[in-house]
Amino acid sequence: MSNDIKIKKGLDIKLKGEAEKTTEKAVLSNFYTLRPEDFHGVIPKLILKEGAKVQAGEPIFYDKSNEAVKFVSPVSGEIIEIQRAEKRRIVGIKIQADKEQSYQDYGQFNVDAVDAETVKAHLLATGCWAFIKQRPYDIIAKPDRAPKAIFISAYASAPLAADLDYVLQGKEAELQAAVTALSKLTEGKVHVSIGSKSNSPLAGLSNITLHKVSGPHPSGNVGTQINKIDPVNKGEVVWTVAAQDLVIIGELLLTGKFNAERIVALVGSSVKKPRYFVTKIASEVSTMVYDNGVEQNSNDRIISGNVLTGKHVKPDGYLDYYSNTITVIPEGDDYEFFGWNKPVFDKISSSRALTFSWLTPNKKYDLDTNTNGEHRNFVLTGNYEEVFPFDIYPMQILKACLYQDLDEMEALGMYEVAPEDFALTEFVCVSKQPHQQIIRKGLDVMIKEIG
């Protein structure tokens, strides 16, 4: 049985450089770097010191505010560097990988036979807890609060995002194990959303409530689905897990090994042959990017994630802990003569003010990172609502975050949103306001003041 979710408001951004559906093994990365900044709000406390040998799946650090939440190494090898910023804040843990990988063995785990506490303890100990996020606040889930429901989106609608139907095919056993384990952790349901026309490997799972979503981006965002299925009220918590991370959780439960392998899409207009790669969490992006059509020292931006929500990484940077896409697009650090008033055919516009993208809705664009204008106060109204399917007033909540009125933020629906939900309003913003940053800061204020 499935329920349909139809999203009307939104925008599909069509870009050049979609990944061809072939998968290659990426060159093995020599170095892996875990960056604590991937885990928002986590202050790392090291378990292992520089120079220590680790096995894949062995905990390296834990969260200062909750010792139970462990973070494990994606590979076996030696910790060769703890990178620190000012005030000795840890920004990276660099691991040199062994040629022969060895895994910490957590043993097979029979999910059907155990209770919730055991499942929880197992996921915490094995580092799988890092994949479980919670709303409100879009942070790693607090293990002491049971969620009212768990949401999994198996439909990617973001521009150039990896096709989840493709990367998850054949992983039914792992997915089922992970979902069964998760279903023990909530009194409520495990909601799984798939595309209405897809043949997702998640469609046949048991212990889930299936939803079919259709419509433009952000229909695939888990936040949109939560808002339509069972919105978060004050005092409630829901958990979310990205579909590709279920595979890692499932494999751990089935085999006892933390296998950080992940299929990643290399996309974007700067990539000559966009396609899929098998690689590992936290591996060097250069192992994929340069062998496949991105020129060395070219003026491109490498993004770990999709163009709307990903992180800007340097050419010697590393794959984000949660990303399954690497996007490479040209930098836009150039001037354009009379760029503000001449007719525009080759860029996407949300208006028709001498911009003609409305004439060619199916054209694929080659966008760069130029802001196409300067930062201004909020001026236009009504244009965010066109791409924002939530039952929330986007501009009003952004302004409430800017002046940090906690009561108003709460009343307007701050518990329901994550920064990624404001990626499209940010994209169409004429005033070039940093929406995701505003929301992130607003959420952080709430964590601090309300908890």
Binding site: V307, D334, F337, N377, T381, Y393, F427
Partner: protein, 407 residues
């Protein structure tokens, strides 16, 4: 690209200095900046505030050009030098003579409006260290179009200075103001210099000068340039046909007369998604509703012909859209996104009340038979209240959801 790299090195030179905003304003006018995204979404739409404002200006240009011809046409017509134009494309209207007077009278208004306003904008940007914002590009174009043709330039300069400083900059610049700056300027002119802003002597170029000459004892005829509204307010039958009102060949503020061109501008703004169709439609609906109410009152015989309100009450309901500044206000002023209602539902109420109150003021205030300015300013003040209730509706829904859960 010599110019591009020269400007780039100049920009680097000014970076961090007091003059940087002033330089950047000129630089970004020539070149879209080389800024790239730093946080959040890595790509952005091509639209920015400059393009948005420019679109509104494009929608205003036909009104400006028509206003220039009309200035000359009304002048020559009042002097008896030419006859009535017989249609929109009449050669009598679109003549060189008319245009020359229009250029001579209207261009200085435009130059003073932009000159004074932008000078203040630059000054504030330099003092406060923020970029020069684009809001004034539209305001500066609106102002000359909503003043009488013979407005002395010094008066306009003073009003613009007042409007930009008090109406906008003290609140924090574009995006922060409560009242529409162009209407603030217009209201300042109206209350500070009422003799220049209303009556039957200000709408046609030369009328004031003629009056002075007569007062000085010269034997010349007075020029009368009564607007349609003015004559209706005095229970006179207006001497213009509906077609003339629609085309705009009537006395009035510089750019507000041609309902036809304003309608084209409205369609352009709605098509480009820059102007809010909700506000435009609801404003018109509000005005028509009030017009119908007054017609009903007349039809019921509740008001006698000798009443001083009779002339305007008896005006056919939809003629209200054609006369006075109503159409101009509804399309170009009420739709200002900053001072208007910001929620889609709120926009309907906001617009409806503007139209409704415009006609109400128009009919009951014969001393100043133009209500759209005051109606919009009034609703500017109430727009946040409207939005508050709309947003509270959303908040209540959320509270209710919580209650159902906990009950």
């Amino acid at each position: 690209m010599g110019l591009k790299s020269n400007l780039h090195s100049l920009k680097e030179k000014y970076r961090g200095t007091k003059m940087a905003p002033a330089f950047n304003a000129l630089h970004t006018f020539l070149y879209a900046p080389n800024e790239t995204t730093h946080s959040g979404s890595h790509i952005r739409v091509v639209d920015d505030l400059k393009r948005t404002m420019n679109t509104v200006i494009m929608a205003l240009v036909p009104c400006l050009i028509f206003g220039m011809f009309n200035a000359g046409y009304q002048h020559h017509l009042a002097l008896g030098e030419i006859g009535r134009a017989d249609g929109f494309f009449s050669a009598i209207f679109w003549s060189w003579d008319n245009l020359v007077i229009g250029l001579w009278k209207v261009l200085p208004l435009v130059i003073v409006s932009y000159g004074v306003g932008l000078a203040i904008e630059f000054l504030f940007a330099v003092i406060k260290g923020h970029e020069v914002e684009e809001g004034y590009l539209v305001t500066g174009m609106l102002v000359p179009l909503i003043v009488p043709i013979d407005t002395p330039l010094w008066m306009l300069g003073v009003a613009v200075a007042f409007g930009v400083v008090i109406g906008k900059e003290v609140f924090g610049g574009t995006g922060m103001n409560i009242l529409n700056p162009a209407l603030t300027i217009r209201a300042f002119l109206f209350f500070a210099y009422p003799t220049w802003m209303s009556g039957d002597k200000v709408w046609v170029h030369g009328a004031v000068a003629r009056d002075k000459a007569i007062a000085a004892g010269q034997n010349v005829d007075a020029i009368s340039g009564e607007t349609v509204l003015g004559s209706l307010a005095q229970n006179h039958e207006p001497s213009y046909s509906v077609a003339e009102m629609f085309f705009g060949m009537i006395p009035g503020s510089v750019g507000e007369t041609s309902t036809m061109l304003i309608l084209l501008g409205a369609l352009f703004l709605i098509f480009t998604k820059i102007g809010s169709w909700r506000i435009i439609v609801s404003t018109v609906a509000g005005a028509l509703t009030m017009g119908l109410i007054f017609n009903f009152v007349v039809a019921q015989g509740w008001i006698s012909e000798s009443s001083k309100f009779f002339g305007l009450m008896n005006t056919t309901w939809w003629h209200h859209l054609l006369i006075g500044g109503f159409a101009f206000g509804a399309v170009y002023m009420a739709t200002d996104p900053v001072t208007g209602s910001q929620t889609n539902i709120g926009k309907w109420y906001y617009g409806f009340f503007i139209g409704f109150i415009s006609i109400l003021i128009r009919v009951f205030n014969p001393a100043y038979p133009e209500g759209v300015m005051l109606a919009i300013l009034l609703m500017n003040v109430f727009a946040p209240t409207i939005d508050h209730y709309v947003v509270q509706g959303n908040v209540k829904k959320r509270m209710k959801r919580l209650k159902v859960k906990t009950a």
